[in-house]
């Protein structure tokens, strides 16, 4: 399985988060420094999980409940890093 590059993963994460969450200021761009639920971008926990389900389809991977439930995320960058590490882990398995 080929591993998508960082930019592709970041783009996928941002797209999924925007599809499920709400950006109160449309002029703000979601990037890796954007805070989750502490500024312009808000997403509730159910929608957040739906975003991960969309990412499973996009990158053909599976997030395990046991690993995902033990993590918390403060910024979009932390989510991108987690998704990237899972993709790499599953590609090398």
């Amino acid at each position: 399985m080929s591993v998508p590059d960082h930019d592709t993963i970041r783009t996928g994460v941002v797209k999924s988060l925007l599809a499920e969450g709400k950006l109160s200021d449309p002029s703000v761009e979601l990037d890796e420094t954007t805070a989750v639920n502490a500024g312009a971008f808000r997403i509730d926990s159910l929608a957040f999980i739906r975003a991960f389900i969309a990412l499973e389809d996009e990158f053909d991977i599976e997030f395990g409940d046991d690993a995902l439930m033990q993590n918390t995320f403060s910024t979009v960058g932390e989510i991108v890093a987690y998704v990237e590490s899972e993709i790499r882990k599953q590609a090398s398995a």
């Binding site: 989750v36 957040f48 999980i49 991960f52 409940d65 439930m69």
Partner: protein
């Protein structure tokens, strides 16, 4: 012979419309970093459009302890009423928790445990959900903590004993353990509480205790899905008797026993099959469907949850002291609400003195004391049976007796001795409740 279903029925596959999505919770200063609160497996079930969702083997094996549940014809009730209607009931009280709530408590505990959760926290109204959750948490090796609505905590101490027997700890809500509880106590010193507050206290507890997660017995799509084992079995049992219900009656709180028995029948109708009336029965003291508004609202008292579009009396609505604790929730689920809004199901509201009268009649004739919640469904069916006799018709009526009432004998004693009062929705209470509805932009 009826078999235990191997899959749950997902009505989303057959609905001709989309259920309105929830909206994010309002921003709160100092909110903790975001982490998943509900296992992905359960969210997958809530978003799936597959008609059949397989029941995992360990859950199916646990169901075998009491399922399939009995479906019986209430012949002695029919005789007592002298009715031309045919009345059947599906009895869900024959498990250790005493109600249908175990149908979803077990799969929820299974999924949370698989997700590495060590402690489950919840709010309970009448105590049925708290008991079921305590049983299921212990089954899968987790701790359980329950915030029990203060009024029920005082009225039903042996519910608390049951939860404790399965290792759960129980706090009366409003408790002194959370900000939400302390604030509510100041505002409402009678200590009665309500389920919306108990949920709010649970959420605050979970936020302060890593490794804990909140779980909920009704209202979410996945809990309604798990309850469809009731209707799936009932469909097969009635078909074996050559019957199809003209009307299905179930009480309505947040919607899980109603959805559980009604959706499999409604699904047949939605696919172009036989017609059925599905009637949600609510207390006149908490008439969210017959008197409430269809609006985005909070699902708990704290005002920090995502907003769901529901038939609601407002999350700040303080329910009168009615005995059907499971029906005191200020709203009903977004799924049932959307289906009701599209005119696919009906709702009726009844006063509790009449409801308790029908509950006693059912006990004397059928030998099962229905929970006060279930007695609402019984009462509505009794009314329909009486109408049928007057009209000279012979409809087939199906009742969901969602639980037993043996922990509610003090309420039945009050009813028998004329001490019950009929709580009604006052204009002031309604106005105060809906005044708290959040302003939203969709």
């Amino acid at each position: 012979m009826t078999s235990i279903p191997t899959s749950w029925y997902n009505i989303l596959a057959d609905l001709p419309f989309e259920v309105p999505r929830e909206l994010p919770a309002p921003e709160v200063e100092g909110r903790a970093p975001l982490g998943p609160q509900v296992p992905m497996q359960m969210i997958r079930q809530s978003t799936s459009t597959k008609r059949e969702i397989p029941i995992p083997d360990p859950v199916g094996a646990a169901y075998e302890a009491w399922r399939p549940t009995p479906l019986r014809r209430a012949t002695r009730l029919e005789q007592a009423l002298g009715t031309s209607a045919r009345i059947y009931y599906k009895y869900e009280g024959g498990n250790v928790s005493g109600s249908h709530k175990l149908n979803t408590a077990i799969p929820q505990a299974y999924y949370y445990r698989n997700a590495g959760v060590e402690r489950l926290v919840t709010g309970t109204g009448a105590g049925q959900w708290g008991t079921a959750m305590a049983v299921a948490a212990q089954m899968f090796g987790m701790d359980a903590h329950v915030y029990m609505v203060g009024l029920s905590y005082a009225q039903k101490p042996y519910r608390r004993t049951m939860m404790q027997m399965f290792g759960a700890t129980v706090a009366a809500s409003p408790s002194g353990d959370t900000e939400a509880g302390r604030a509510f106590r100041k505002e409402h010193p009678d200590g009665r509480g309500n389920i919306a507050l108990a949920i709010g206290e649970s959420l605050e507890d979970v936020a302060a205790n890593p490794g804990s997660r909140f779980c909920i017995g009704s209202g979410e799509d996945y809990s309604l899905l798990h309850q469809t084992v009731i209707g799936e079995e009932a469909k097969e049992q009635l078909a074996d008797l050559g019957e199809w219900p003209d009307a299905v009656y179930a009480s309505i709180g947040a919607g899980s026993n109603f959805g559980g028995i009604a959706f499999p029948f409604l699904g047949e109708q939605l696919r172009g099959g036989k017609q059925v009336r599905c009637v949600a029965v609510e207390p006149a003291g908490c008439p969210k469907m017959t008197k409430g508004v269809y609006a985005y609202d909070f699902t708990d008292y704290s005002g920090t949850t995502p907003l769901e579009k529901m038939y609601t009396l407002g999350s700040r609505f303080v329910t009168p002291a009615i005995h059907a604790g499971g029906l005191r929730y200020h709203a009903t689920s977004k799924l049932v609400s959307a289906i009701y809004d599209h005119g696919l199901v009906e709702a009726e509201a009844y006063a509790q003195t009449d409801v308790f009268g029908s509950g006693q009649l059912f006990c004397r004739t059928e030998g099962i004391l229905p929970a006060p919640e279930s007695a609402h469904a019984v009462h509505a069916a009794v009314q329909a049976a009486r109408r049928a006799t007057v009209e000279g018709t012979s409809p087939c009526l199906l009742i969901c007796v969602s639980g037993h009432g043996y922990f509610d004998l003090s309420a039945y004693a009050d009813a028998m001795e004329g001490r019950l009062e009929d709580a009604v929705l006052t204009d002031e209470a309604f106005a105060a409740g809906v005044a708290g509805l959040p302003e939203v932009t969709v």
